[in-house]
Symmetry: C2
Subunit: 359 residues, 2 copies
Amino acid sequence: MQQLTVNLDDRSYPIHIGSGLLGQVELLAPHIAGRQVCIVTDDTVAPLYLQRLCQTLADYAVVPVVLPTGEAFKNWSTLQQIFDALLAARHDRRTTLIALGGGVIGDMTGFAAACYQRGVDFIQIPTTLLSQVDSSVGGKTGINHPAGKNMIGAFYQPKAVLIDTDSLRTLPAREVSAGLAEIIKYGLIRDRQFLDWLEQHMPALRELEPALITEAIARSCAIKAEVVAADEREGGVRAILNLGHTFGHAIEAHQGYGNWLHGEAVGAGMAMALELSQRLGWLSEAEQQRGVTLIAAAGLPVTPPRGMLGEDFKRLMAVDKKVLDGQLRLVLLKQMGEAVVTADFDGQALHSMLAVAGR
Amino acid sequence: MQQLTVNLDDRSYPIHIGSGLLGQVELLAPHIAGRQVCIVTDDTVAPLYLQRLCQTLADYAVVPVVLPTGEAFKNWSTLQQIFDALLAARHDRRTTLIALGGGVIGDMTGFAAACYQRGVDFIQIPTTLLSQVDSSVGGKTGINHPAGKNMIGAFYQPKAVLIDTDSLRTLPAREVSAGLAEIIKYGLIRDRQFLDWLEQHMPALRELEPALITEAIARSCAIKAEVVAADEREGGVRAILNLGHTFGHAIEAHQGYGNWLHGEAVGAGMAMALELSQRLGWLSEAEQQRGVTLIAAAGLPVTPPRGMLGEDFKRLMAVDKKVLDGQLRLVLLKQMGEAVVTADFDGQALHSMLAVAGR
């Protein structure tokens, strides 16, 4: 088992990574203040892991909440089911919520914990590769609004993150690729050596070779923890974690949430960020190509959906949370392994790139 | 003009109290980071003060949102109107929300600010006496759930509070009394001298004599600021601010939100807390009577609604946020001017008191 810490003063918390963690009550117990626990999961994960976790927590008064699966349900009315269950079971301020599932479950459970009685404890048990390396760490929680993804939410840190790598065994290959998108992102924005390592091991990573995937998760979480500790509320550097996401969110919104996986949209979005960085003269064509090849090797798309045009991107990116006083900021690469967040780029280069999108 | 500060490290903020503040842009400008401002108000307050505030903010891009008036609308679907307006006008993370209205508007606007794009700035401009001395200070925000008041929310501090005492001129007498309930509360829980002062000036306070009402507001805000600074997230002492509120919330829930004003329910609830404190031997009958007389002198009810029985209280108080691991905690008076939060009281005394309620 590997252990990391996210350093945020009195809100610091551990990340445990390893095999069989779902059965280890001693990892959970120190983070549960009272007797009441509410496990939030979805109807895909529940049949696989809910019973096991309930057994681990047999000494607590556990209320399970099983939500419908998918990004399309990441909204207020689904969130309301968590509040309804907590109130029906009279859970008080010392209750602990546990998110058992992928990113949607983690984001919604975290936001429910942030809001229930103005804030209760929660623990993340991410079961997908994407959520293990991304959304379970860092405290971003929330739900979607018809006009934009994650528009309603909170920065709210969990008490602990438990990453049981055994849960990846049931993950479809397409979702493994989606998780690898975020893993590649960490190399691109912050760690050129990690990028070399990923190029070397990509086929084995797609096969979930245990030692390699544990190492990839730990390295990703360590980079994320470092960035989050430097800038919890995304006032500055944290925004580099969104490499490919401004384009990616536009793709998701255009296709309808849930049709492209988030990681797939980020894969194509990162390829666009690589291209724009090259058009701006920051990357060589060889570097751009190397990045795109790695994304493709992970089994991810490297171009926007057919039929999604430049004007679609412009319209959908205008509501991005990185827009400040009307100006679009993008995460781009100054070089491989070094990202910047900037509004100071040649708009014509963006325009030219988008002009040929979707054709 | 009087000025106080709520001391919360990097989240400290000023409270300005005085006449004509709604027209003073120099009090608002330092707390507005960008050009975008969203004023949230209701259809009672909008015709009275919205235009004036818009004129004061003529140099900003202002979006007004006018919500239906009342506690019955303090819910998610009303809150959604704020998000819809912010997204339609493409407000970004540097937008500033301004709450112009009573406690419902302040609570909802603050919660909207806490959640919009995971947190944007907001300013409180409370227009009722109740919200000026209570909800606008301290960062409690939220909405109601069908199963309980303020069950969904956040601790989220404003950047500033502007209390324009001129706005009290349009306040119905019944709402003046409701505000006086919270003012009396501060004397009961923390300041015996203030209690003497209130007894002396109650008739003039009900007439809103300018110097006296300004002093009463400033003293109330100072006590609240001191308690909040000591315990922002209500881990301990802050709960004393809820004197009369556990009974009061039960009364509101029983009558249907909006039928009894919050301050009226708190008035009756404080009378019940005085009675229970006397039954426990902590107050003399004379002290209890003195407290009840002061509450009545403010024009407030001092008994629960007719027909609301002991079992109604017990059922409705079981979901109170001060219940921990199933045990009811109450705010009671150890003596006049000194409140405690305790689960360590003779349950039989509570039972006997509730047995005769509503008859």
